[in-house]
């Protein structure tokens, strides 16, 4: 499904029309879903051509038991234009993997480590994809919906 016609009035959505799978504009916030293999192209475009110089955060969503199970969400901000946009990719539950955004935004490094730590989503090409919040010897990824709330140790 391509992005809806109604989004064409937003320059960011229009610029990303060929990379986006779908999108919406709700509560004054623009969200675009990008195909997983095109996310780096999309990030490069919003950074260098549309002026979103700041990556606010990278985080994950677990929609267990739906498939595709995971979402990785990129919140971007343009200080220059006082504008924000949210990019999403959807990843399968069996092998959640997406290319690291560190080649475009160096600040993505720790956000991606956190998303890896808590959701178990792998970011290929990341310089140091290790746990950041939990102890290094931790088993499992606690923010997954199928992880027991009280943990697996006790």
């Amino acid at each position: 499904m391509p992005i809806p016609e109604t989004l064409s009035e937003y320059p960011v959505a229009a610029a990303l029309a060929d990379l986006a799978v779908t999108g919406k504009h709700e509560f004054g916030e623009l969200t675009l879903e990008i195909a997983a293999d095109k996310i780096i192209d999309a990030l490069r475009k919003v950074k260098h051509e549309l002026g979103f110089e700041r990556l606010s955060t990278v985080t994950g969503v677990d929609r267990f038991p739906a498939e595709p199970r995971f979402e990785v969400v990129y919140h971007l901000q343009s200080v220059k234009n006082n504008e924000r946009v949210r990019l999403k990719v959807r990843l399968s539950g069996t092998n959640p993997e997406v290319e690291s955004a560190t080649s475009v935004y160096r600040g993505a490094n720790w956000y991606e480590r956190e998303t890896f730590d808590l959701f178990g989503i792998h970011f290929t090409g990341h310089p140091n994809l290790t746990r950041i919040m939990l102890p290094q010897d931790w088993e499992g990824h606690p923010l997954r919906k199928d992880y027991p709330v009280t943990g697996t140790r006790y």
Partner: protein
């Protein structure tokens, strides 16, 4: 010499009534005591806590040390930045799985004798949190006094320190331990 205070067998009260030696020494300005009591007295009136807070309980701990509640009245106002200089570790807040090894490491770095107060529900039993991230602190290090509350008021923490003072005052063999004889 003391006159007998009550009738009865002559030697019934002699053991406790016979304070003549102590009385005589007191009159000449000499106090008799045990070395253990002296050491315990010094220790319990100069408990130096470590500056170490883990969560919101630390705010109450800081309040306890400031002028309104004034822990200096109990000789415990010197919060030390280093475990090497501390006698007391106040676990003020929740202990996470990742923090637990650090807490134990800090405890091991403190010179003996050392004491631990577990402050608040989180440190004692993980409190309102029922999840994978936390451990009760008595699984990590031995604890002397547990303080209930969420968070405990500064008075409650002062009460815990007073209980700890009582405990220190009653400890046996302090002098022998100082000389490495026990």
């Amino acid at each position: 010499m003391n006159a007998p205070m009550a009738s009865g067998p002559a030697d019934l009260f002699s053991r406790i009534d016979n304070e003549s030696l102590e009385q005589e020494l007191l009159q000449s300005g000499i106090v008799t005591t045990t070395l253990d009591s002296v050491i315990n007295w010094g220790r319990k009136n100069s408990i130096w806590p470590m500056s170490f807070g883990l969560a919101c309980c630390a705010i109450e701990m800081m309040s306890m040390s400031s002028s309104r509640f004034d822990i200096a009245r109990f000789g415990a106002e010197v919060f030390r930045g280093s475990p090497r200089q501390s006698d007391l570790m106040i676990i003020a807040g929740r202990v996470s799985n990742k923090m637990a090894p650090v807490v134990r490491h800090l405890y091991q770095q403190m010179p003996e004798p050392r004491w631990v107060i577990s402050m608040g529900a989180c440190a004692t039993s993980t409190g309102v949190f029922n999840n994978y991230a936390l451990v009760p602190v008595n699984q990590v290090i031995p604890v002397d006094v547990f303080v209930p509350g969420c968070p405990p008021r500064p008075e409650q923490l002062i009460h815990a320190i007073m209980m700890l003072q009582e405990k220190i005052g009653q400890s046996n063999g302090s002098f022998k331990k100082v000389l490495n004889l026990a």
